[in-house]
Symmetry: C2
Subunit: 131 residues, 2 copies
DNA sequence: GTCAATGATACTAAATTTATATCATTTGTC
DNA sequence: GACAAATGATATAAATTTAGTATCATTGAC
């Protein structure tokens, strides 16, 4: 029942730091020093963010990562989708089979309603709100 | 990002069936037939519900399980607490250490707000609503 | 006493989350 | 161009949580 996983959390922290940094590139080494995130894990996260065009990477000496968009254009839900998959609070799929009750299930309806609210709230959160 | 886990879901289904049954006791065998839940897993779930006083069990031939309270007194959150632990959408605990940012973290504040709503909604759901 | 039911408990398997490790590639500096 | 400092790509491993199984003991109606 965890809304965000650790990689999303780490991504938020890293992006926040990069956004707040005066340099226009920040290296993994610097981030590791500040954020205390295990280096290889953070590296993986940043590489994914680069692939997904939320960061631009620069190789070679003096390289690092920089934001691509302004902080108010980066949505928390972008990160959640990247690291956690689709925004859903209930799958109703067991062993790759959709639950047969799905059409009528009242529990699902209740959860769907909650989900709708949660997602709408999440969608309003940008990186700028998290600085 | 799953609000309820499978055991909670199974518990809901089992309780709903028991509640709707004309008999005053329902055996695991009958439930397995109807709900298609793996027998040993369902047994475990029912035994827990018995221990937690949401069901009363009857041993021996003709035995089974019966509701203890009326269906509008059984809360979904009771089940969630039993099978999923405390109602929380974010722990902010990594490797048994509370996150040092917890006092000031804006992400946490956002999630806390969402959590508050979610929990208040969940608390309003009884078994009666799920029949 | 037998048999059909649950109680207690230990174990196993699968899936997801959280990392780690290694080698290749790029690029700035000398 | 050699070198070093950075990321890219990718494979693997460890830890945790979720899901499911197996076994034997106990109870109670008949
Ligand atoms: S029983 Fe309802 S909530 Fe559970 S999986 Fe089926 S549809 Fe979804
Ligand atoms: S950074 Fe914020 S949200 Fe993440 S664990 Fe720390 S306090 Fe919680």
């Amino acid at each position: 029942m965890k809304l965000i996983t650790r990689d999303t959390d780490y991504a938020v922290r890293a992006l926040c730091f990069i956004s707040g940094s005066k340099k226009n590139r920040v290296s993994v080494g610097e981030l590791v020093g500040v954020l205390k995130i295990p280096r290889p894990f953070l590296r993986k996260i940043l590489q994914i963010l680069n692939k997904k065009k939320l960061l631009k990477s620069y190789k070679g000496q003096g390289g690092g990562f920089a934001l691509v968009k302004s902080h108010d254009k980066i949505l928390l839900t972008d990160l959640m989708k990247i690291f956690q998959g689709p925004l859903k609070l209930n799958e109703c799929v067991f062993k790759k089979q959709v639950c047969p009750n799905i059409k009528t299930c009242k529990l699902k309806k209740k959860i769907d309603k909650i989900e709708k609210y949660v997602i709408s709230e999440l969608k309003g959160i940008t990186l700028a709100h998290l600085l």
